[in-house]
């Protein structure tokens, strides 16, 4: 218990976003809290990095004398912690309604879910996706490829402790490919549709226009969601018109 007082600490404040009050990380501090600064302590983590999450009760908190050292285990170092920090500031999440629905489907029917639990899982989801993606991306780079494919993802899952998903996902992928074969030539499966609904409250539109299949009836083996035209074996059966 005592070790929680030492080590790496984080200071957060509560920020109001459109949907909820979300904590935002402000800085990493290495020393104990300053006695003269008002903190409202919410969390403490007993993990190897002793994270302390604090809220500042007033909107503009003072910059106190807590220097951010380049201590050994600082998450301001140029390691994964730094990346996480940058990522969190973007705050890209999946819609909470979708997340909550899936959670509900996972628990017994009579179960309820607290609101802050839903919000936290929403954040966990983004973290999970990033976690898998970076691992898959690394493998991809090692093999000098530019496009992350299904195998990279499955491999990442397996490496990161989610190997129990690999078989169900392979099965799912197989069924999907078969379904796509069956729908060959049938219009309507455009991945460009529905974009409008997803982007209403986002400003991350810059990446999307490129790589979307236009509904011009062309049947090509085009990679969806990429900006470059590539033909990858194994995906050629999947066609969208």
């Amino acid at each position: 218990m005592v070790t929680a007082l030492h080590g790496t600490w984080y200071k957060y404040y509560w920020a109001q976003t459109t949907n909820s009050t979300r904590r935002k990380k402000v800085e990493t501090i290495h020393h104990a809290m300053q006695p003269q600064v008002h903190y409202h302590i919410l969390y403490i983590s007993m993990q190897h990095y002793q994270y302390l999450m604090l809220t500042i009760n007033y909107p503009c908190f003072p910059h106190n004398a807590c220097d951010v050292d380049d201590g050994e285990e600082s998450l301001n170092d140029h390691d994964d912690g730094g990346m996480k920090e940058n990522f969190r500031e973007q705050d890209i999440y999946l819609p909470i309604a979708n997340v909550a629905r899936i959670m509900k489907n996972g628990i017994p029917q009579t179960g309820k879910i607290a609101k802050d639990a839903k919000e936290c899982v929403q954040e966990c989801v983004s973290e999970f996706i990033s976690f898998i993606t970076s691992e898959a991306s690394e493998r991809c780079h090692q093999e000098k490829r530019k496009t992350i494919n299904g195998e990279d993802i499955l491999f990442a899952m397996s490496t990161l402790g989610f190997d129990m998903y690999v078989e169900p996902l392979k099965l799912y992928l197989q069924k999907f490919r078969e379904a796509m074969k069956g729908e060959k030539g049938i219009p309507g499966v455009s991945v460009g549709e529905g974009l409008g609904e997803e982007l209403t409250d986002d400003s991350f539109t810059n990446q999307l226009p490129a790589g979307i299949i236009t509904a011009d009836g062309q049947q090509q083996n085009v990679m969806v969601y990429t900006t470059s035209y590539q033909q990858i074996p194994g995906v050629q059966q999947i066609q969208f018109s």
Partner: protein, 115 residues
């Protein structure tokens, strides 16, 4: 004409998460240039499985058994106790009441770390 839209809830693809948003998150990882369609699909499906797994583990693990509500603390406890979820530790740290924490530092004066 959006009956089979891959972005809709519980569609014929069996996916209830918006793939465009999943893709955004994937692309926000550094050094990711492009993602093929299968990778996106698998990731989205895996995310669903992940959510269910996290929710159910936490529900079973915690006070949900009694009052049937999945709480933040259930999630935090599960993350702490499950190796697979260790990557979530800084998102789901455990809570401590302020008064307990203050008592703690009172009893254990804080040592200054080396500068």
């Amino acid at each position: 004409m959006s009956g089979d839209n891959v972005n809709h809830a519980s569609n014929s693809k069996g996916i209830s998460l918006p793939m465009t948003r999943v893709k955004m998150i994937m692309k926000s990882s550094p050094d990711v240039s492009s993602i093929n369609q299968e990778a996106l699909l698998i990731t989205t499906k895996a995310t669903e499985l992940f959510v269910q797994y996290l929710a159910l583990s936490s529900f079973n693990n915690g006070s949900g058994k009694d009052n049937k509500t999945l709480l933040y603390s259930d999630l935090a406890n599960t993350v702490e106790g499950t190796e697979t979820f260790q990557f979530l530790t800084d998102i789901l740290p455990k809570k401590i009441f302020a008064r307990d924490y203050l008592k703690l530092i009172e009893e254990n004066p804080i040592e200054e770390a080396d500068n």
